[in-house]
């Protein structure tokens, strides 16, 4: 359950990046977040993940007021959320397998489970054959899929995906989308930011559109 009330965020430039955003996503809901380049999609997702602070308003995630979480406790919020970063954020010095396993090590999962879950996550994005490659040796789309696998491997309760199919061909995009929809069926809340209008039209999920930091009707 995600709730935003009058959230405003300015990076100090002329126009604020987000302007009095109010909306909510129910538990187990799947929504598309769309809008032109620079509209504030990433900013919105970052606020939910607390990698950016907001200037005004209230943000509740699972009933927690995330503005009140002290920095040293941030990990409790982040362990609830799987985030697909727009720029992937893969570690170049770790192999694909290690990159995905790393997300589980970091939250203290046990070894046997890590092997199994990592393999499963890589299978879901169709990358088991690349498990020993390093990110710089992957194509753009392959890197993106590793980022997706890492976000999903811990079975988070919320998934925030920032244009996760931007570098993927339509076929694989559809498969990835189905992966997220499958998670939704298990009760996971999904916010899926995308520019792909075809994809948005082809599925029947709620669409949230922002333009220049404001919510607009789709």
């Amino acid at each position: 359950m995600i709730q935003l009330f009058n959230v405003r965020k300015s990076y100090g430039g002329v126009a604020p990046a987000l302007l009095d955003i109010t909306f909510s996503v129910k538990k187990g809901e799947f929504i598309f977040l769309t809008g032109p380049s620079g509209a504030g999609k990433t900013t919105l997702l970052k606020i939910l993940y607390r990698t950016e602070k907001y200037d005004r308003g209230q943000v509740l995630v699972h009933g927690m007021n995330i503005g009140k979480i002290p920095d040293r406790k941030l990990y409790t919020l982040r362990r609830e959320i799987g985030f697909v970063f727009q720029d992937y954020k893969l570690l170049a010095k770790k192999s694909v397998f290690e990159n995905v396993a790393f997300a589980q090590e970091v939250i203290g999962a046990d070894k046997k489970r890590i092997r199994f879950k990592t393999w499963e996550a890589l299978k879901n994005v169709g990358l088991t054959h690349k498990k020993d490659s390093y990110p710089p040796e992957l194509s753009g789309g392959e890197q993106q899929r590793v980022a997706i696998a890492r976000a999903l491997v811990n079975s988070p309760k919320i998934i925030l995906a920032d244009e996760p199919t931007g570098n993927l061909d339509p076929e694989i995009s559809l498969e990835i989308l189905k992966l997220f929809e499958h998670a939704k069926k298990r009760g996971v809340t999904v916010v899926f930011a995308t520019h792909d209008q075809e994809m948005i039209r082809s599925r029947k999920h709620r669409v949230v559109v922002i333009k220049r930091g404001k919510l607009v009707a789709p």
Binding site: T51, Y75, K93, F102, E105, V106, I107, R150
Partner: protein, 299 residues
């Protein structure tokens, strides 16, 4: 704990080059500091040994009165810099003199049937940096006293030598201070740079839900390991140099070391060096990791 050790090892493996560079830098740093300490300690003990031999000898007139002698003795005891005072009667002095000269020159002195030498007080001074100046000043004071025939304080070279050693000592201290400062700068830079190479990783860990301790512990362990390894290699290097010097200069060394202990690697030295290397590794990583974990740190 096991996980942390495991993470530490895999961290080191991933960034092996930076790790090795850090260890090498710390090794060199500590070798220099260690050798420096060795030189300093030995030079210092050398100085102390030599300077014990500096005495102020007060020769007395043959016709000195009991009163004058008492006044002199009081004056000497009143000087808190004087460590000991020995009275040498003219008979003893003459015996010593004859002993010295009859041995290696000619024996004309044995032919003398009267004693031409005076009695004297031999004063030893407490060790201190400006001892020589103090001796000089005290000698000036005594010079004018009645009953004092003349004064002698060691051969001239001993004074000059002591001053030179004082100068060297201060010089070495200055160099040592600079060295320590430099080492701290270099080590903290090395550790900071090794952290820069990890910045991405630390940030990602924070992003994907690691607890601060999970991040902190392996890095601190790595820092301490780095320091410890550097310390051990430095000790090995110093030991190696010691062996080399021993083998090359066995003879010379023995004749110099006679009556004087050369302190190459003592127990406290080893412990001190290892402890401070671990400490520096720990402090260095602690400071750097704080920078990254603090909320003020810009993403």
């Amino acid at each position: 704990m096991t996980t942390s050790a495991h993470t530490t090892i895999s961290n080191i493996k991933t960034n092996l080059q930076v790790f090795l560079i850090s260890v090498a830098t710390i090794t060199v740093a500590f070798s220099i500091l260690g050798l420096f300490l060795v030189v300093f300690v030995n030079l210092n003990s050398f100085l102390t040994t030599w300077s014990k031999q500096v005495q102020l000898i007060v020769y007395l007139k043959d016709d000195i009165s009991q009163n004058q002698r008492q006044g002199l003795e009081q004056l000497i005891s009143a000087n808190s810099d004087v460590e000991s005072m020995t009275f040498i009667p003219r008979e003893t002095a003459w015996a010593n003199f004859k002993n010295t000269f009859s041995s290696n020159k000619s024996d004309f002195i044995d032919d003398l049937t009267f004693n031409p030498l005076p009695s004297s007080y031999n004063l030893k001074f407490k060790p201190s940096n400006d001892r020589f100046i103090k001796i000089h000043r005290f000698a000036d004071l005594l010079k004018g006293r009645k009953g004092v025939e003349s004064l002698e304080y060691g051969e001239k070279w001993l004074g000059a030598f002591e001053k030179f050693m004082l100068f060297i000592r201060i010089f070495l201290l200055a160099v040592g201070g600079l060295l320590t400062l430099g080492l701290i700068l270099i080590i903290s830079n090395t550790i900071k740079l090794s952290f820069y190479s990890r910045q991405e990783e630390i940030e990602l860990m924070l992003l994907i839900g690691a607890t601060p301790n999970f991040i902190r512990v392996p890095f601190m362990m790595e820092g301490m390991l780095q320091g410890l390894l550097g310390g051990i290699f430095a000790l090995a290097l110093i030991k190696f140099l010691q062996l080399y010097v021993k083998i090359q200069f066995q003879g010379s060394l023995e004749s110099i070391a006679r009556g004087m202990e050369f302190q190459f690697i003592s127990q406290p030295f080893i412990f001190g060096l290892l402890a401070s290397s671990v400490l520096i590794g720990w402090v260095g990583s602690f400071i750097s990791i704080r920078q990254f974990l603090s909320p003020a740190h810009k993403k």
